[in-house]
């Protein structure tokens, strides 16, 4: 039988606010346990929540960016359950009325565009962390994360393959970073994904029973976990079994998903409107003001790069994959006018390579956009060759100054003086009579040998085109 996969994603995006959703504690990652857990976060008797306005602004930003409806009135509810990392015994979340509803995101898989619906995005607070390792037989609770603002973004079950799911997730990842509402750090848990996966016979309208996959904290694991889960479900059904609706944990070491048995006896969260908080009412002015603050979004930027800089769709896609990279590119092109393609090659090639090698963010690159533009200008005006440029780039990366300084210091200026190149050629011909003889007897592949010798003698500085031209004349014996 032919099977169709149905995938919906729930993504928890940690908002980049300085303080928590309902308290004035810092949200900074990596502090000593419980040093960023104030009276409100640890739920002392008598404390009350007061909402962070920036979190509302960020949620609205997201909603506008995905073309969603912004609900002018939404409600915070309490989701009641007991867990040691949930200090109040309830999580403040939005239930019936979320702040954002009905948006969409367009993904591109193998050149095919597809619209993925966004059902809703709602604000809620994060829980703390349970640490199981350090104390024998006991669990340690760190509440630093408790109360950190999250935007939970729920997609429609519109994805039909693991690759589509990953494309959606990557698109979302780029978007929230563009908007400046999330740092996107998956290792630190700032961008977390749960996947609802089910399969059904192709052509069947009704959905199959779904499993919820948790703990998939990298793009690669999302793809692998979903692939595994699809195979498991198909095997199960074809073997006469039935998929059970349950939560499954992905184990990246074994590359398998397994049932989180027992965790739940049936949940009964007893949602009700939080009486400590009044409805989240958003003024039209607030929404308009937020709309004005929206940056250029990834799709618009990509199209503009193709149009304005004459880049290929691929190059534009890569360059706009992160707004920091796009900004770097635009700054560099601005300082090296007319060199948009060459600049794109350098940013996508060497710059990205070095950043990866040194595990650096583009903002921390030792070669700034201005410095790269300086280098590109010297390539363009023939001061240096592309090959020498790579050497200069490495020197700049190592902190040896800008391109002109490195060229000067290392004497890397390209030799374009014909007589100097001729002298070098003559010298080499004189020292290699045997090769000259063979060349002149028809072994033309020795041409490469002579090019190499000339470049070596000029320490690579000779203009390659000139070398070729002069060498051909000299070797054939015709007078210059």
């Amino acid at each position: 039988m032919e099977w169709e996969t149905v995938i919906g994603l729930e993504v928890h995006v940690q908002l980049l606010t300085k303080s928590k959703l309902f308290s004035g504690s810092s949200t900074r990652f990596g502090a000593e346990p419980n040093t960023q857990a104030c009276a409100v976060d640890i739920a002392l008797p008598g404390v009350l929540p007061v909402m962070n306005k920036e979190a509302a602004r960020m949620a609205v930003k997201f909603g506008l960016a995905v073309g969603a409806t912004i609900n002018r009135r939404s409600v915070f509810a309490r989701k009641n359950y007991f867990y040691p990392d949930l200090p109040k015994g309830y999580q403040i979340s939005q239930y019936e009325l979320p702040v954002v509803q009905l948006g969409r995101l367009v993904i591109d898989v193998d050149g095919e565009r597809k619209e993925i619906g966004i059902t809703r995005a709602h604000l809620e607070e994060d829980a703390g962390k349970s640490l199981h390792e350090e104390f024998e037989g006991l669990t340690g609770i760190d509440l630093n994360r408790a109360g950190t603002p999250l935007l939970e973004i729920v997609s429609e079950p519109d994805m039909r393959s693991a690759r589509e799911a990953v494309a959606y997730l990557k698109k979302l990842h780029v978007l929230v970073r563009y908007l400046g509402i999330c740092d996107g750090n998956m290792q630190e848990g700032s961008f977390r994904c749960d996947a609802n996966v089910s399969v059904r016979p192709k052509g069947q309208h009704a959905f199959g029973t779904r499993a919820e996959l948790k703990n998939i904290n990298s793009f690669r694991f999302v793809e692998k976990a979903i692939e595994y889960e699809i195979a498991r479900q198909i095997d199960l059904i074809e073997g006469g079994g039935k998929v059970v609706q349950e939560t499954r944990l992905y184990d990246s070491v074994r590359n398998e998903t397994r049932s989180m048995r027992s965790k739940e006896e049936a949940h009964d969260y007893r949602y009700f409107p939080d009486p400590d908080l009044l409805p989240l009412q958003l003024e039209a002015g607030f929404i308009e003001e937020t709309a004005k603050s929206l940056p250029e979004l990834p799709d618009a930027k990509r199209e503009r790069f193709v149009r304005e800089y004459g880049l290929t769709a691929y190059d534009a896609e890569v360059l706009t994959g992160a707004h920091e990279m796009a900004d770097y590119y635009e700054a560099a092109v601005g300082a090296a006018p007319g060199q948009s393609k060459l600049t794109a090659n350098w940013v996508i090639g060497d710059l990205s390579g070095y950043l990866n090698r040194d595990n650096l963010e583009v903002a921390a690159a030792p070669v700034t956009a201005d410095m790269l533009a300086g280098l590109i200008r010297r390539i363009a005006d023939n001061t240096i060759s592309g090959k020498i440029a790579k050497e200069i780039f490495e020197a700049m990366w190592g902190g040896e100054g800008d391109a002109d300084a490195v060229i000067e210091k290392k004497g890397l200026r390209q030799i374009t003086d014909g007589s100097a190149i001729e002298r070098a050629i003559e010298d080499i011909m004189a020292r290699n009579p045997k090769q000259l003889e063979q060349y002149r007897c028809g072994q033309e592949k020795l041409f490469g040998f002579f090019v190499g010798q000339v470049m070596k003698a000029t320490q690579g500085k000779a203009n390659p085109a000139q070398v070729n031209e002069l060498l051909r004349k000299k070797l054939s014996g015709t007078p210059a």
């Binding site: 300085k18 007061v50 867990y83 349970s130 009486p275």
Partner: protein
């Protein structure tokens, strides 16, 4: 509506309250009586009435996104039943 022992067990479980076998019947009886009182509500037709969740007819009050709290871990954990190395300790959570 009256509650039986199973209902009481289910509610007590949700509320994380240990209720002894011998208390179940008494709880069922008392809670049923309270529910009897509550069900006087049914005498009134509330069709079309908007629920009122709060006496205040106003919108959310906001605070600015500023860090205003400082570390008070030592003070807070001095009153904790069990804390070590800055963490609150509880019996092992089984996942």
């Amino acid at each position: 509506m009256s509650l039986d022992r199973t209902d009481v067990e289910r509610i007590a479980h949700l509320a994380r309250l240990e209720v002894g076998e011998q208390e179940l019947a008494a709880y069922a009886e008392t809670l049923s009586r309270i529910l009897g009182l509550i069900e006087q509500m049914n005498a009134v037709d509330t069709e079309g009435i908007a629920p009122m969740s709060h006496p205040l007819d106003a919108g959310m009050r906001f605070r600015a996104d500023e860090v205003t709290e400082t570390d008070q871990r030592e003070v807070f954990q001095s009153i904790a039943p069990s804390a070590q190395a800055g963490l609150y300790l509880v019996p092992k959570v089984i996942e």
